[in-house]
């Protein structure tokens, strides 16, 4: 249940960005959640809802996009989707893999008024 800490960090960023943009109303917040992160989207939505209830941010919605795990093979220079968390290249079997996406936990866009 670390979604509560994450919701708090998210709120801090949202408030900072709203102040910067002189925004008063928050409609939606778009997030990218990597497949490898241990985040439960429903739980994060619930925590966000609880924390914004009764505040000026009440009613704002989180839109979460799950980002698939993609690796880049350092040996044969190809990208591939990592299935079943197997960090090995399906083309050349090398285990020298760089993670391209799937580890992110980011806020990407806010709709404000």
């Amino acid at each position: 249940m670390h979604e509560m800490s994450i919701a708090q960090s998210l709120l801090d960023i949202i408030k900072e960005e709203m102040a910067k943009n002189d925004a008063k109303v928050l409609r939606t917040v778009r997030l990218h959640i990597g497949q490898l992160t241990a985040i439960v989207p429903e739980s994060l939505s619930f925590c966000f809802e609880v924390m914004t209830a009764g505040t000026e941010l009440e009613g704002a919605k989180l839109i979460m996009e799950i980002i698939p795990l993609v690796g880049h093979c350092q040996s044969c220079d190809r990208d591939f989707q990592i299935e079943n968390y197997a960090f090995a290249c399906p083309y050349c079997q090398s285990t020298d893999i760089k993670t391209v996406s799937g580890e992110e936990l980011s806020i990407v866009e806010m709709e404000v008024e």
């Binding site: 670390h2 943009n21 992160t37 079943n84 197997a86 960090f87 980011s106 806010m110 404000v112």
Partner: protein, 224 residues
């Protein structure tokens, strides 16, 4: 109006973790973040490690628990500097909690600082504290399906200690399967098979840890 933001949500924690790390670097101090489920054997591993290495390494410990100071008392009885953090419900330690303990330690007189995280196989993996490496324990009584169920923890850890191997005759758990699955998720992970009860396999771990701390210190002096 749409506002493009693009920020890591955990950025604030990661910034603090980096500042912690910079201080540890300055002191040439090795910091290990030790994680596992509750009851896998973190504190007993620490006790055994301190007993074996205390004449060779100066060790300090941060104990993270939701409640109680039992673990800190166990460590303090060994004459080791220890600080207990009670998270009061939070399921993990973060960079800020670690920073708050800094006044309690004399880092110049330490070689190794161990952060014993809150017992939990999920959340601690997500929060950096400024460590050099993460080590995790999986005990054989937990079952060999854990790597595929908790991939982030196995992916983030540099070291996996498979504990309680003395109980293997009594449980349906394949060490080979744990190793195979863990290496699939993290091909670079270093694995030790140990029993903190009988002492089996611990010597290899002590040796590895001591070498790591010495290399870290040497690379620090080299850069200074």
């Amino acid at each position: 109006m749409k506002v493009s933001v693009v920020k890591n949500i955990l950025e604030a924690n990661e910034r603090i973790a980096q500042q912690n790390r910079a201080l540890f670097d300055e002191k040439g101090l090795t910091v290990m973040n030790l994680m596992s489920s509750p009851g896998a054997g973190k504190t007993i591993l620490l006790e055994k490690t301190i007993d074996a290495l205390k004449d060779q390494l100066r060790v300090g410990v941060i104990e993270g628990d939701i409640q109680s100071s039992q673990d800190a008392e166990r460590i303090a009885s060994k004459g080791i500097p220890v600080v207990q953090i009670n998270t009061g419900g939070a399921c993990h330690l973060d960079g800020n909690m670690i920073r708050d303990t800094f006044g309690e330690f004399d880092f110049d007189s330490l070689d190794l600082l161990v952060v014993e995280n809150v017992g939990n196989l999920v959340c601690p993996a997500e929060f950096k504290v400024g460590e050099d490496f993460k080590a995790m324990i999986l005990s054989v009584t937990e079952g060999d399906d854990k790597p595929s169920k908790y991939p982030l923890m196995f992916h983030e850890s540099s070291v996996l200690l498979i504990n309680k191997i003395d109980l293997l005759p009594y449980v349906d758990c394949s060490v080979e399967k744990i190793k195979e699955e863990s290496l699939k998720i993290n091909p670079q992970i270093t694995i030790f098979e140990i029993s903190c009860k009988t002492g089996e396999g611990l010597d290899k771990w002590f040796k590895w840890l001591k070498q790591f701390v010495e290399h870290r210190k040497a690379s620090f002096s080299g850069n200074a």
